[in-house]
Symmetry: C2
Subunit: 353 residues, 2 copies
Amino acid sequence: MEALKNDRLIRALRRQSVDYTPVWIMRQAGRYLPEYRATRQRAGDFLTLCQTPELACEVTLQPLARFDLDAAILFSDILTIPDAMGLGLSVHEGEGPRFARPIRTAADVAALGVPDPEDDLSYVIEAVRLIRHELAGRVPLIGFSGSPWTLATYMVEGQSSRDFARIKQMVYDAPATAHQLLKVLSDSVSIYLAAQAHAGAQVLMIFDTWGGVLAHADYRHFSLEPMEQIIQYLRADPIASDLPIIVFTKGGGQWLARMAATGCDALGCDWTSSLGQARHQVQDRVALQGNLDPAILYASPDRIRAAVAEVLEDFGPGPGHVFNLGHGVTPGVDPDQVKVLVDAVHELSRTVT
Amino acid sequence: MEALKNDRLIRALRRQSVDYTPVWIMRQAGRYLPEYRATRQRAGDFLTLCQTPELACEVTLQPLARFDLDAAILFSDILTIPDAMGLGLSVHEGEGPRFARPIRTAADVAALGVPDPEDDLSYVIEAVRLIRHELAGRVPLIGFSGSPWTLATYMVEGQSSRDFARIKQMVYDAPATAHQLLKVLSDSVSIYLAAQAHAGAQVLMIFDTWGGVLAHADYRHFSLEPMEQIIQYLRADPIASDLPIIVFTKGGGQWLARMAATGCDALGCDWTSSLGQARHQVQDRVALQGNLDPAILYASPDRIRAAVAEVLEDFGPGPGHVFNLGHGVTPGVDPDQVKVLVDAVHELSRTVT
């Protein structure tokens, strides 16, 4: 494959010097883009869009045509693994995902197998190959998976949840069952991410969207340790071992020091953390990614630029910053506002690096 | 009024020694209790229940008849102040609160007046007098208010929100308007809490339910500083100045040191914080209240008892702990489970204090 023409993301994740701070945006390929909505309409529904490599490739590349982004991220659903396990995923606009056959008992967990990425999830692996080919080295491609805990919440609750009562009842009353579920998930995520690396992903990210709902002691056992097992697996893989790994627990600002000890290269931070304080907490052992409040994209261009400057200043001098929002861009955002943000990062960070 | 027979809560909030750790539960008077549901049905609707002092008194006392609690907390709605400002509050089961006339512009904010508690909110003040009389010194009565920021989110969004886009747009694009709104709210909350103190409340608590959605720098200016102004006002009031004040920002675990510097006596902690680490962060300058995950109430009695022991151990020896959940008890909980929790706190804390 072609050599990487823009390696700022890789360098920043390795805490090496860069000419300016690289930037990408969580959910940069998504509903706020009219061209995304057009492709999705053509696909018919969301899951067909995810499961058709040509269409997944098309929407992955869309934001790169508009914005001067320093990375592409695989367009895919977070729940591909449980779907491949046979839980019967459906996604309805405005309602969130649902599983026809949620996991409730030890027997349900015992019946789960580890999906083979090249077979059961071949549409993802094929999309990675295609995107990597189409990118032609322009920017690196980020592969990703949901964290075991985050996948488990959807699998046990059967849908989005407010109080996570079912999965927490499993954690509290049947911890062995919860651990067994997390084990089959960490095995599954490990080989899924390794397969993405083999297919051409150049960075790997674990999205722990719901780790932040756990109590402080439970976070370690039920979210962090399964992610740590994945990282250990990837470090032992001949190809994946070369890739920077990003771990992002939304709402995990109190646990950054623990997260930095997992062996990952970078931590995602949401907007409730100060990047400057986070650097202190992790003692610059890992890079940091983030962390502008996504709501800033509803403000004026001047305010967006000021907010970008504040985040850059908060991180301070030295290497190891990847600019991003603290969570995904929301569907109501005007794409021109995203352009203001991306351009401001490049323009303003030249003076601070 | 009668002398207080059980002053464990007051003593613990002042970091004085107690024979065992006092316990009360956020939303201890609420939908999980069949007797509450009966009273509410009798009232007809939720707001009538809040606005009828005899009924508010009745439901306030209900959990004390079942459980060996160390405090009562005024039963009231969090949105009484904006309702008294004329925004037209309605509450529909399962949908959350709505305002008929939300606040959107600088002119809307300029038109807001500070409600007179003894007039516009007399039903609350009357309920406080009645509850205090009915308690007859059995346990102390906690008065409360929503924080200015939390009230502002509902007033600007007009209802519960997921991403708080409208209020954040005001924060980012019209900060002077946001500050003016927060000023009229901190003035209103100040005299509202003082009036509750004058009517007999013995502890005051500020619920900052939505401070945790703010970016770290914005939290200080838009949530913490208005609360600080309220505390300063109360400290200058001849009666309220004697009352312990508790500040609780849900999701505020990263900001505890800042919060402890407001002049409050105690901080509420949600379950994502370690009480032991929180003590270290606030250097034991304030008491801590919390912080069991409310989801534990769906677990077995043995698991509840074990979890209570873990929280007590996490706080460790020494004064300054008020046991509570990390957020309100949820409607689906079996009341017998709450009894297990309350009894476990008393039984297990005798050995550690």
